[in-house]
Amino acid sequence: MLKICVEKTWKEFRLDISFEVPYKKTTALFGLSGSGKTTALRIISGLETADDGIITYGEEIWFHKKERINISPQWRSTGFLFQDYALFPHLSVEKNVTYGIKGREKLEEVKELISLVGLSGYEHCYPEQLSGGQKQRVALIRAIARRPEILLLDEPLSALDMETRLRLQEDLRRIVQRFHTTTLFVTHDVSEVYKMADHVIVLESGRVIRQGTPEEVFMGKRLSTRIQIVGKVVSIESDSIIAAVTVMHDDQYFKTLIDTEEVGRLNLKVGDDVVIGAKSSDVILFKALTQS
């Protein structure tokens, strides 16, 4: 298990975090931008140094301020996937992936890895010849190729369009599961957490405010909501499959799509009083501005 208990202070920001990353599980570090997620990841990898604290992985001490231990990034056995991939522009896909590998026996695995993410035939291409999604896959297999103990992913999918993102979430999950690597990934997307993480740690203003399984964390009072609207049906537009039902509530109109069969089953007509129910996570609450 990776245990982190560190603090670091800047002029206007203080990071003070303490959490554990379960062995061989995928953990999400979730929070809004500026909450300290990326810094936490960089401190774990050794790319940044904390002012105080301890980082241990199993029996190994990676950082211990009081004992003056600070293992350099090269010796921490982490694979780091940068937000903008950081592929070496002068090296081909194959050379990028094999860059961190010492020893010839693992080179065969690289071919398998390249094929696993669907990049066979691209071995001799340079990063500038690849699409965003392909670059992301190269960066991912480069990070995993030397079999790190921990995979650290800094918003791995944030720079991609929605379609590529959804496809790569699957790829990412498949690769992580295949190698049984302890994974810690940074995200601000709840759906990504649900899809990929076994465990989630929520950061806010440099502090851990909640942690647990995605269900435990996001079904809490603040990050989910249940809305019920009582109103009168003002119109029903239906075809053979789907019906659009418009409901009026306090001079506001709400349109909802339901199964046409359901309209028949409920015998729903214009003028009926109905309840629209919705349950959602990832809810944002704003304070309304008034004229006064």
Partner: protein, 223 residues
């Protein structure tokens, strides 16, 4: 009159100066690029001094520093049984110092221009700082390194003030092409001076054109 001797000497001096600055300048520029030492600006200012100092001022201080009465001069004379000032070796020392900014600054600027994320990616992939330098920083800084070498070479070819101050005008030893031109003009041999100057001009232009052509081809291939 031997036309070729000053040019061969110039070529020899430029090649040695450029090679020395390549070997010593690269690690030094790396240190300047990545050191977090607070007083680094003092070292940077010293390196840049030859850019603003009149060559005669630099030449004068160098002459003081390597002359027969100086510590360095006496030490050199004790070992090699000859003076460092007014020798070819003295010219190399002067040329090395005078050309420091022309090599170090492009090297340093190229090193700092490499995206830091790439270095971090290399470290996080388990590679040492030396390996990262050799396989990431160096190849990605090739344009700056080539520029530094070309500037050093071309600047040494055109050097005059410092060389005259610390080397004088000894045929075959310190009489480089630029000094030979000055000498011919002093002797009112404009024809010979003209030939020397034209050869130097053509030589410098060809060297620069070749190197920039190679540089451009490299970058067209890379990007």
């Amino acid at each position: 009159m031997n036309f070729t001797a000053p040019f061969l000497l110039t070529l020899k001096l430029s090649t040695i100066t450029t090679s020395l600055l390549f070997i010593i300048g690269i690690p030094f520029a790396y240190w300047l690029a990545f050191s977090k030492l607070r007083l680094k600006f003092i070292v940077e200012s010293i390196v840049a001094l030859p850019l603003v100092l009149p060559p005669t001022v630099l030449g004068f201080y160098l002459l003081m520093a390597i002359g027969g009465n100086s510590f360095v001069g006496r030490w050199y004379e004790g070992i090699f049984n000859k003076t460092l000032a007014f020798s070819f070796q003295g010219l190399v020392v002067g040329s090395f110092i005078y050309n420091l900014p022309f090599a170090i600054r492009p090297f340093q600027s190229a090193f700092t221009g490499v995206d830091k994320k790439l270095l971090e990616a290399s470290w996080s992939l388990g590679r040492s700082k030396l390996y990262t330098f050799l396989f990431i920083i160096f190849p990605l800084s090739r344009q700056g390194i080539i520029t530094g070498c070309v500037l050093t070479f071309a600047h040494t070819v055109g050097e005059f003030g410092v060389i005259l101050m610390i080397g004088g005008n000894i045929p075959g030893i310190t009489r480089v092409a630029s000094v030979a031109i000055y000498d011919e003009v002093q002797a009112l041999n404009y024809g010979t001076a003209n030939i020397h100057a034209a050869i130097l001009l053509a030589f410098s232009f060809i060297i620069l054109a070749i190197v920039y052509f190679i540089n451009r081809r490299f970058f067209t291939r890379l990007f």
